[in-house]
C-alpha cells in the first residue's frame, strides 16, 4: 500500500512539474552570457500601457521602455527635452508648440512623428477616437486642458489649451505622458497593455504573469545605449520576502525596503543602500468646519504638540524627513526654504489650547491600516495620540482598511471626524494644494479639501500660479502659498518620505530620482 502511494506521489510530482517546465535554459544558449539585472518590484504590474495605469510600481517598468516629449532632469523635478528637442509657449499660455526629435523610430520600426503624438493624446482625450475603447484612461484628466492636438508638419505638433495650465509640462514628463506606438495599439487593441512598444532604451521581450517582465537592450536606441543587456522585473509583494531574496542573491536591485531591514543592508558591504527624498507629504487633515479645529490656536497647538522628529527617527527609522508645508522640498525650484517645521514645544501647545478654550470633548482621529504612500500609519497614529494626550487632548482612534478609509475621508470629515491621516505623491507643486486646499476643492465640489480649508488669498495665488507660464513667477507664488498655509495650519504637517532601494555592490551607476521613477538606462553590472 505504501509503495503504491509512493509511486502515485512520485508520478504526480514528475508529471505536474513537467507541465510547468518551459524549455529549460532558454536564455543560457548564447555564447557570451548576457548581463541581466534582476529588479524586485512590489507587485505584479497591471498593464504596460502608460495611459491606462496609475501605480508607481508600473511606472518603474514603463520609463525604461517608453519616453515622453519631455522628461524630469536627472536628480530634479524640473523638466528637460526628451522626444521633443524644444518648445514654444504662446504669451497667453494657450498654445504649446513642440519640435520633435528627428529620425527616431518606435521599437516596432514605425516612425515617431507628429501623427504619432496626436494619436496618443487623441486616444486618451477624445471619446470618438477609434481606439478610445482600449482604455479606460484614469489619469487622462492630467491633459484635460488640451482642447486640440494639431499636426503642423511631420516633426512639429501643437497643443491648443482651453485655459492656461502651467503644470502641463510636468504632466507631460509624468509617465501618463509617455508615448506609445500607434501601430502597436492598432495591432493589439485591448491587449496592447501586454505588448508594449515605445522608443526607450529597453524593448519588451516577454511577460510571464506573476513571474517576470523581461526587457532587453534596444539596439536601435537614438540616445546612449543601455548599460545592461536585459532587465528582469520580478513581482514580490511581501516586503520580507523581497529582503530575503535580496540577501540570498536572487535580486540585484530592490525598491521599498522595509525600514526594519534597512540596517541589515547598511552594515553589509556586499550591498549598497540608496535614499532620495521625493515629492511626498504625510500629514493629518484637520476638520476646520467644526470645533475644536475651527480655531487656529488649536490647529497650531497640535502642530507644536507632536514630536515629529521622534516620529521620523524612531517610528519611521530615519526613512523620512520632517515636513513643514504642503509643497515638499523635492520641488527644489518652488520650495520656500525660509520655512521651518513647527518645533516640538508642548508648553506652547498647552498655552494655545488654554487660549482656544478647549472643553475636553474627545477628538476623533481616522487612521488607515496601510495604503499608497501611508508609510507606517498605525504606529504613527498611536505615537501622535500619545503626544496629544500629553498636552491634555483626548484623542480617539478609528482604524479602517485603505479603500474604506478613502471612502470615508474623501467625501469630507464633517460630522464624522476631527483629524485624518493622509499622504500624497505628486509630480508638480500645483497638484497637492490645488486639489486639497482651495475653497473650490471642497468635497462637494469634487475636490479633496476634506478639512474645508478656505483662504481667499491662497485661492487667488494658486489660480495665478496656474495661469503663469514663467517658472520664476510660479515659484514666487508657490512660496507665498506655503508661508500662508504654514501659518494657517489647516494640517498637522508630519513627514516627507525618502524613497529607498538596495542593490548589490556589483550594480553601478544607479541613482534614485526624486520623481520616484526607476531609470535603468545607464545602470551597469559587473
Amino acid at each position: 500500500m505504501f509503495k503504491r502511494v509512493l509511486v502515485v506521489a512520485t508520478a504526480f510530482l514528475v508529471v505536474s512539474s513537467l507541465l510547468f517546465a518551459s524549455g529549460s535554459g532558454e536564455q543560457g544558449g548564447g555564447s557570451a552570457k548576457p548581463t541581466t539585472l534582476v529588479v524586485g518590484q512590489i507587485a505584479e504590474p497591471k498593464a504596460l500601457d502608460p495611459h491606462t495605469v496609475t501605480a508607481v510600481n508600473d511606472f518603474r517598468i514603463l520609463v525604461n521602455i517608453y519616453e515622453g516629449l519631455v522628461q524630469f532632469k536627472d536628480g530634479s523635478l524640473d523638466v528637460e527635452p526628451a522626444l521633443a528637442t524644444d518648445w514654444d509657449i504662446s504669451d497667453d499660455g494657450l498654445v504649446y508648440t513642440f519640435h520633435l526629435r528627428k529620425g527616431v523610430n518606435f521599437q516596432d520600426g514605425t516612425p515617431f512623428n507628429a501623427e504619432a503624438v496626436k494619436f496618443n493624446f487623441d486616444r486618451m482625450l477624445k471619446d470618438d477616437h477609434p481606439y478610445h475603447n482600449t482604455g479606460p484612461f484614469p489619469l487622462a484628466f492630467f491633459f484635460s486642458s488640451i482642447k486640440e492636438t494639431t499636426v503642423v508638419d511631420d516633426s512639429t505638433v501643437r497643443f491648443t489649451l482651453s485655459q492656461p495650465y502651467a503644470p502641463l509640462l510636468s504632466n507631460l514628463a509624468y509617465p501618463t505622458g509617455l508615448l506609445v506606438s500607434p501601430a502597436a495599439v492598432k495591432k493589439f487593441g485591448t491587449e496592447y497593455g501586454r505588448h508594449p512598444v515605445g522608443t526607450g532604451p529597453f524593448r519588451f521581450v516577454k511577460w510571464e504573469s506573476n513571474v517576470q517582465v523581461l526587457v532587453e537592450k534596444n539596439p536601435d536606441y537614438w540616445g546612449t545605449p543601455a548599460g545592461v543587456d536585459q532587465v528582469v522585473f520580478r513581482p514580490i509583494t511581501d516586503g520580507n520576502t523581497r529582503v530575503t531574496e535580496m540577501l540570498s542573491g536572487g535580486l540585484d536591485l530592490m525598491v521599498e525596503v522595509p525600514p526594519d531591514s534597512l540596517q541589515v543592508f547598511e552594515n553589509n558591504n556586499k550591498f549598497q543602500v540608496y535614499e532620495q527624498a521625493g515629492p511626498h507629504v504625510w500629514f493629518l487633515i484637520l476638520n476646520m468646519k467644526e470645533k475644536p479645529f475651527s480655531s487656529k490656536e488649536m490647529r497650531q497647538a497640535v502642530n507644536y504638540a507632536v514630536n515629529k522628529k521622534a516620529l521620523v527617527d524612531n517610528v519611521l527609522q530615519g526613512t523620512a524627513e520632517v515636513a513643514d508645508s504642503p509643497i515638499p522640498p523635492a520641488f527644489d525650484w518652488a520650495y520656500n526654504d525660509s520655512l521651518r517645521p513647527y518645533p516640538y514645544d508642548p508648553e506652547k501647545a498647552k498655552q494655545l489650547i488654554a487660549q482656544a478654550g478647549y472643553d475636553g470633548t474627545p477628538i476623533t482621529f481616522y487612521v488607515t491600516q496601510g495604503g499608497s504612500g501611508m508609510l507606517d500609519p498605525v504606529p504613527m497614529a498611536t505615537a501622535i495620540q500619545a503626544d496629544l494626550a500629553a498636552v491634555g487632548l483626548n484623542v480617539k482612534i478609528e482604524t479602517y482598511e485603505w479603500n474604506t478609509f478613502l471612502g470615508k475621508v474623501n467625501p469630507g470629515l464633517e460630522g464624522k471626524a476631527d483629524m485624518a491621516e493622509m499622504a500624497w505623491m505628486t509630480n508638480d507643486p500645483d497638484t497637492l494644494p490645488f486639489l486639497t486646499l482651495r475653497t473650490a476643492a471642497f468635497p462637494e465640489e469634487g475636490g479633496f479639501n476634506s478639512g474645508y480649508y478656505s483662504n481667499p488669498e491662497v485661492d487667488k495665488l494658486l489660480e495665478q500660479a496656474r495661469q503663469a507660464t514663467d517658472q520664476a513667477t510660479r515659484a514666487r507664488l508657490y512660496k507665498q502659498v506655503q508661508a500662508i498655509v504654514h501659518d494657517d495650519a489647516p494640517w498637522l504637517f508630519v513627514a516627507n518620505w525618502k524613497q529607498n532601494a538596495v542593490s548589490t555592490a556589483r550594480v553601478q551607476n544607479f541613482k534614485l530620482q526624486p520623481s520616484f521613477l526607476l531609470e535603468l538606462g545607464s545602470v551597469t553590472k559587473q
Binding site: 500500500m1 505504501f2 502511494v5 502515485v8 506521489a9 504526480f12 510530482l13 514528475v14 505536474s16 512539474s17 507541465l19 510547468f20 517546465a21 518551459s22 529549460s24 535554459g25 543560457g28 534582476v38 507587485a43 505584479e44 497591471k46 498593464a47 500601457d49 496609475t54 501605480a55 482604455g135 479606460p136 484614469p138 489619469l139 484628466f141 504573469s209 506573476n210 513571474v211 517576470q212 528582469v232 520580478r234 514580490i236 509583494t237 511581501d238 520576502t241 530575503t244 531574496e245 540577501l247 540570498s248 536572487g250 495604503g371 499608497s372 504612500g373 482598511e401 485603505w402 479603500n403 474604506t404 478613502l406 471612502g407 470615508k408 467625501p411 493622509m422 486639489l435 469634487g446 479633496f448
Partner: protein
C-alpha cells in the same frame, strides 16, 4: 454508483450559484470600489463616477449579477479590471501552480502523516510515540506563515539550499528539477498542519483497530507482524482516514492564500488577495467559483474512494 455521481454533480449547481451570490453581495458590502482603488489619491467623486461608468460598474447590482451569470454560462468569466486581461486567462495561468502546490502538500501530508501515525500506534508509549506526539503538537500549533519565513531564513538565506521564492529561477530556469527545487519549501510548509492532523488521526484509528478481534485472529493464524499491520490493520484504518484527507484539502487550499504570499508562488491564493484588495469583483468571483468546483470534486472523489474501500458504506 453512476446515478450517485450524477446526482452529486447536479447538486454542484445550486452550491455554486449560492456561492456566487454570496461573493457578489460581500464584495458589494465592503466599502470602497474598484475605481477608488485604481485612482488612489486622485479619486475625486467626479473621476470615480466617470471611471465606474467606463468600467460598467454604474449599473444596479442585480443587473450586473445577471450579466455576469449570463456571460459565465457562455464560458465568459469577464475581464479583470485590476489586471486588464480576461479573468479566464489569469485563472488558467494561476490554477496549475496552485494545484501543483496543494497536491504536493497533500501528498507530503498523507505520506508522512500516515507513516508517523502507524509507527506511533505500533510503538505506543515507546520513544517513537513520544517524539511523534511532541513534533505533531508543534506542527499543529505553529502558524504556517511564520514557519515559512523561518524555513526561508534557515534553508535559503543561511544554508542556501533552496530558492527563497517564486516557482522557477528567473534566469535560465524552468526545468523540472528547477520547479521541484522551488516547490519543496512551500509544499512542506503548507502541508505541516495537515500532516499533524492526519498523523494524529491515523494513530488513534490504528490503536482502535489493533485492539479488534480480527487482528488477534490474524496474529493467531501466524501471520507476520508486518502483514498484520499493513494488510489488516492499516487497510481498515484507511476507511476513516480518507474522508479527513478530503477535509484537509479544503484547509490546504485555504492555507495556500498566505503560503503563496510568503513564497510568492504564482497561484490562485495570491491572486485572490490582490483581487479583494483592489475590489476586482469579477476576478474574485472567478477564483472563488473555480476553487469551489475543485473542493466539491475532491469531496466527491473522497466519497467514491471510501465506497470502493468499504462497499458497506452507502455511496
Amino acid at each position: 454508483m453512476h446515478r450517485y455521481i450524477i446526482k452529486r454533480l447536479a447538486l454542484m449547481i445550486p452550491v455554486l450559484l449560492g456561492i456566487s451570490v454570496i461573493v457578489f453581495l460581500i464584495m458589494e458590502l465592503i466599502p470602497g470600489d474598484p475605481a477608488q482603488a485604481i485612482l488612489g489619491s486622485f479619486a475625486t467623486p467626479e473621476n470615480v463616477a466617470r471611471l465606474n461608468a467606463e468600467l460598467g460598474l454604474d449599473k444596479p447590482l442585480v443587473q450586473r449579477y445577471f450579466i455576469w451569470l449570463g456571460n459565465i454560462l457562455q464560458g465568459d468569466f469577464g475581464r479583470s479590471i485590476s489586471l486588464d486581461r480576461p479573468v479566464i486567462n489569469e485563472i488558467r495561468d494561476r490554477l496549475g501552480p496552485t494545484l501543483l502546490l496543494a497536491g504536493s502538500s497533500l501528498i507530503f501530508a498523507a505520506l508522512f502523516g500516515m507513516i508517523a501515525g502507524v509507527v506511533a500506534a505500533v510503538k505506543q508509549f515507546g520513544w517513537q510515540d513520544s517524539l511523534f506526539t511532541f513534533v505533531v503538537l508543534i506542527g499543529i500549533s505553529t502558524p504556517s506563515f511564520w514557519l515559512g519565513l523561518m524555513f526561508v531564513l534557515l534553508f535559503s538565506v543561511q544554508l542556501g539550499w533552496f530558492p527563497v521564492s517564486g516557482m522557477t529561477a528567473v534566469v535560465g530556469g524552468g526545468g523540472v528539477l528547477d520547479v521541484v527545487h522551488h516547490l519543496i519549501l512551500p509544499a512542506v510548509t503548507l502541508g505541516i498542519v495537515a500532516t499533524g492532523v492526519i498523523a494524529r488521526l491515523t494513530r488513534s484509528t490504528m490503536l482502535e483497530v489493533l485492539r479488534k478481534d480480527f487482528i488477534r485472529s490474524a496474529r493467531a493464524k501466524g501471520l507476520t507482524e508486518r502483514s498484520v499491520i499493513i494488510k489488516h490493520a492499516y487497510k481498515n484504518a484507511l476507511v476513516s482516514i480518507i474522508p479527513v484527507l478530503g477535509i484537509q484539502t479544503g484547509f490546504v487550499i485555504g492555507g495556500a492564500v498566505y503560503i503563496e504570499t510568503v513564497f510568492q508562488w504564482p497561484g490562485i491564493g495570491r491572486m485572490l488577495v490582490t483581487a479583494i484588495q483592489t475590489r476586482d469583483i469579477l476576478l474574485v468571483q472567478g477564483g472563488v467559483v473555480v476553487i469551489a468546483v475543485i473542493y466539491v470534486l475532491i469531496n466527491l472523489t473522497v466519497d467514491v474512494v471510501q465506497h470502493v474501500l468499504d462497499p458497506r458504506i452507502d455511496a
